[in-house]
């Protein structure tokens, strides 16, 4: 579906017949955003989630500023007191405002992308600017562009103080003391860059909607033990046995939700991609779509902050480390073990949060097709609800051999708790 979407967008760019609608602006820039997340080296899942939150907020506020049925997020999100408003009585074009805001946001948040990303941004920027301005008076264009950019700059300024604005060394700290105590995280690969874990301070970032990073803290994981009768050992054995007897379907599920950074849109991008699919399949207008994108972005970003807070609190051992030492030294995972502590599962926390946000927008028992990895040859998966998709995303990490069951179960619960804050945001009058 997204392949079609890109082609449609390119056809739109080539057609001078009529100006672009806000929905097209949203769809085009989000397509670029997802590709940039995949192809910008600093965009690990937490960083990607942050960008989806700010991008979603920019999209929603640009839309809400001209729509009396929508309610601004200013005053509801931590640290965001006010945002610029349009001049009363003046005419604005919704597509131009939205395009200016998203154009500015993508350039600001992806200033560090490579030459191809820069090239794509420049081409998109130029094409969309011309496309949205078609048939409009100069003063409307200028006023609309000015407002869109001003709005985005206010959001950018707010973003700078959240603790996640600067990423160095691709997120891996120069200095970090890896625990020598049993049961704690140790490096799981032999890449020099990843001998220290990813973004150990991400859990100290300012959240968006939840009051603080510990608002949805978790009980500890099962106590580490090398006793085969212990709960921990049983969970390790479950990972080992499951991995060794994976069915074809389980293998597909693991790969479908793998969402590796640098090779995919990442787990948060997977959920943003689902929203974009829904936008196209259900013909959502810009108001509905931007609300969904903002809610899911905020929920997932908070999900990662809350998850990382717990990860570095418990600093828990990965299955591959324990299993190789205690069960089978030749064992290996199906998926790449991420370079940071195990508990809780980041994908589960983010997915649990996304589920709450999307259920708030679309309702429960909402059926949809997930086409995210169609081009990767992993097919389309059908779900009868967001919850069903979340549960599959969670268990995929056990199939992949990278999480114990407790991290998945508790991760989903933490995500649900966090997501409820995003779901509670007042976004309609």
């Amino acid at each position: 579906m997204k392949k079609i979407s890109v082609l449609l967008c390119l056809l739109c760019l080539a057609s001078p017949a009529h100006a672009a609608a806000p929905e097209e602006v949203l769809s085009n820039w989000y397509t670029v955003l997802l590709n940039l997340v995949r192809h910008t080296a600093t965009y690990s899942p937490p960083v990607a989630a942050r960008s989806f939150a700010y991008f979603g907020i920019a999209a929603f506020e640009a839309t809400a500023s001209g729509n009396t049925k929508l309610h601004t997020l200013a005053g509801q999100l931590n640290g965001l007191k006010t945002l610029p408003m349009r001049e009363a009585g003046k005419t604005y074009d919704e597509a131009v405002v939205l395009n200016a805001a998203l154009d500015a946001a993508i350039h600001d948040f992806f200033s560090n992308t490579g030459p191809t990303g820069q090239h794509v941004m420049a081409v998109q920027s130029s094409a969309m600017k011309a496309r949205v301005a078609s048939g409009l008076s100069r003063d409307v264009i200028q006023r609309s562009e000015r407002f869109g950019v001003t709005l985005e700059k206010a959001i950018l300024e707010w973003s700078k103080s959240d603790g996640g604005a600067v990423i160095t060394n691709l997120g891996f700290p120069e200095h970090y003391s890896v625990s020598k105590e049993p049961g704690h995280w140790v490096p799981t690969n032999q890449y020099q860059l990843q001998q220290h874990p990813l973004l150990p301070n991400w859990g100290k970032n300012r959240p968006f909607a939840m009051p603080n990073a510990a608002a949805c803290s978790l009980p500890p994981p099962p106590s580490f033990s090398e006793d085969p009768q212990s709960e921990f050992f049983k969970q390790a054995r479950e990972v080992y046995d499951t991995r060794n007897a994976l069915t074809a379907e389980q293998t597909i599920i693991a790969r479908f939700w793998s969402d590796d950074p640098g090779l995919s849109w990442t787990p948060p991008g997977h959920w943003v991609g689902i929203v974009l699919d829904l936008m196209q399949q259900r013909h959502l207008d810009a108001a509905k779509a931007s609300e969904a994108l903002a809610r899911v972005g905020i929920a997932i970003a908070d999900g990662f902050i809350g998850c990382w807070h717990e990860k570095y609190h418990y600093d828990f051992i990965r299955p591959v480390t324990f299993i190789k030492k205690n069960i089978d030294k030749s064992w290996d995972t199906l998926l790449i073990t991420p370079p940071f502590p195990e508990y809780p599962s980041g994908h589960s926390s983010a997915t649990g949060a996304a589920t709450e946000a999307l259920t708030a927008v679309f309702g429960d028992h909402f059926e949809f097709d997930d086409t995210t990895h169609e081009r990767d040859g992993l097919g389309v998966r059908h779900f009868i609800s967001f919850k069903q998709a979340a549960e599959e995303a969670g268990i995929s990490r056990l199939y992949g051999g990278i999480h114990f069951r407790a991290a998945i179960v508790q991760g989903l619960q933490q995500g649900a708790c966090i997501g409820r804050y995003a779901a509670a945001l007042k976004m309609q009058q």
Binding site: N112, G114, T116, N169, L170, Y191, L193, G262
Partner: protein
């Protein structure tokens, strides 16, 4: 007979082994290079923007017939240049630019020398953004395009990789071409990789048949026909840039005579590995009897050792243990991850151990990766690990490097270095070390097809009781290749023995030769000493 002539000396050599063993774990000898770019007569800039962010290759081969490697350098948007080697043995590097060689094409990304028609004169495959050019050597450094005459489909793509092998029974080689991003999709390049392909000779060997696509293709930056399991039949290793593919991975193609190419699968042991594949180097640097591979990439580079034996192409990564991660600049203060391009195993200090060179340089204004990214010269120690010596060896450079060749440019048995740099002139360094070990340089040849014995393995006995092996291949690196003498360091040995496993799998006898000499080794004939100017 050479064997008799050196028999007595060989006994002395054997006597040296204990002495070498006692020094086995000493730090490696650091060679000494000097930058002779400004005095060398070489000036060529690899110019261009987006479509020249990759490529920038150099081919080293003798087109004059004097035994010294001449250099063909890609220019991107500039015309490519051929530089004729006027150096004297052991002397400064001196080149003059050839005029009207027939190779002065624009949009060139790289090149590989290969004697396609087996006439004893080296031909050249030129990779371009556009149509590749297959240039037949006419002698005296003149070349003629043969795309049409040999029915070679040069394609019309962003060409970035090449390799060749002689399949059993064929007079002509099988040619493999690797391409990068589909240029039709410059505005949305991700996920749009153009097709790689293979050309096989027609049954009557009069030229080539239609292209055989290697699908799926995943934006390839290096490919190499290599006999990974020593079966006598080379497979095609393909290193791909994960930046642009979707659903892609590293690839190993089975290329068996009279069968369509097929990919090795996970079920057969091939692991699902994804990286920013930029270049391939190979050598049996650990004495396993099988080739190991080094894959240049961004951040951690990869060193792959065969773990599955000859029946399974399963590799374990060993860069961490061996000290070859080369993941960030080793000096200069820029701590961001680095970007590797051309890579090559050679023995630069003639101690009988393979060393490793990696050309480095930012793709282009990528702020998350090092801008000051020096090339690596990793010297192998006796314990099999590697230690960085680029700066100490005089090779420190913070330019934006791409293709390269470690090659003996002045016939003194010491490997020199030529490196193409983006938006800057190609650099050449002469190895002026006076304290290295002894060397041996061998040029393997055979009559008829595959005149330069591509696919042969040459084995040389080393003082430490080990054997240094080389696969004679065409391909790999980053858009850069060479043809000519194969270089071996001998350490303290003043003579040694070597043998050749020829492409038809026949094995020569061990033959004794003196160190510090060049030999032409003709299959089924006695070896001939080579001297410059004779």
């Amino acid at each position: 007979m050479i064997a008799q002539r050196f028999a007595a000396l060989w006994l002395i050599v054997i006597g040296l082994v204990p002495m070498m063993m006692s020094a086995a774990f000493a730090d490696p000898i650091i060679p000494h290079f000097v930058d002779e770019t400004s005095s060398s007569g070489i000036h060529s800039i690899y110019k261009g923007d987006w479509q020249y962010m990759v490529g920038g290759g150099v081919a080293a081969f003798d087109c004059e017939g004097n035994g010294l490697p001449d250099l063909f350098v890609a220019g991107g948007e500039n015309k490519a240049k051929l530089f004729l080697n006027q150096s004297h043995p052991g002397g400064p590097l001196k080149f003059t630019e050839a005029n009207n060689s027939g190779l002065e094409f624009d949009h060139v990304t790289g090149a590989y020398p290969i004697d396609i028609d087996g006439d004893g004169i080296m031909d050249l495959v030129i990779l371009r953004v556009g149509e590749n050019k297959i240039m037949r050597g006419l002698g005296h450094c003149k070349f003629q395009e043969m795309n049409s005459a040999w029915h070679i489909d040069g394609g019309n793509a962003w060409n970035t990789a090449f390799s060749a092998t002689w399949e059993k029974g064929n007079r002509l080689p099988t040619l493999a071409f690797g391409t990068y991003i589909d240029t039709q999709f410059q505005d949305q390049p991700w996920g749009h990789c153009s097709d790689n392909w293979v050309l096989r000779p027609r049954a009557d060997q009069s030229g080539y048949g239609d292209r055989i696509p290697l699908l799926p293709s995943y934006c390839t930056l290096s490919m190499l026909f290599t006999d990974w399991n020593r079966s006598g039949t080379a497979s095609l290793r393909v290193s791909n840039d994960r930046e642009y593919y979707m659903g892609g991975q590293e690839q190993l193609w089975k290329i068996e005579p009279d069968k369509p190419p097929t990919l090795y699968t996970e079920a057969e042991g091939w692991k699902y590995i994804r990286l920013w594949g930029m270049g391939i180097a190979t050598a049996d640097f650990n004495g396993s009897g099988y080739p190991s591979y080094f894959l240049s990439s961004m951040a951690d580079q990869r060193m792959q050792l065969l773990a599955g034996g000859p029946t399974q192409p399963t590799y374990r990564e060993a860069q961490f243990d061996m000290g070859t991660t080369a993941h960030r600049p080793y000096t200069g203060g820029d701590l961001r991850p680095s970007t590797g391009w051309h890579t090559q195993f050679e023995d630069v200090n003639n101690d009988g151990l393979y060393d490793l060179f990696i050309a480095k340089g930012n793709v282009d204004r990528m702020p998350d990766f090092a801008q000051k990214d020096p090339n690596n010269l990793l010297l192998q120690k006796e314990d099999g690990t590697f230690v960085e010596a680029g700066d100490k060896a005089g090779l420190l450079s913070f330019r934006n490097h791409r293709g390269a060749q470690l090659v003996d440019l002045n016939a003194d048995g010491k490997l020199d270095l030529v490196v193409v740099t983006r938006r800057d002139t190609v650099r050449v360094w002469r190895n002026i070390s006076d304290h290295l070990g002894h060397f041996l340089e061998l040029k393997v040849q055979q009559e008829g097809n595959n005149r330069n014995a591509v696919g042969a393995w040459v084995e040389v006995k080393e003082a430490n009781g080990k054997i240094m092996r080389r696969e004679n291949f065409i391909g790999g690196g980053h858009a850069s290749g060479q043809a000519g003498f194969l270089h071996f360091g001998l350490g303290a040995l003043t003579e040694t023995e070597f043998r050749v496993i020829w492409p038809d799998q026949s094995v020569s006898e061990w033959q004794k030769v003196a160190g510090d000499h060049f030999y032409v080794v003709n299959k089924d004939r006695s070896i001939v000493e080579w001297h410059f100017g004779k």
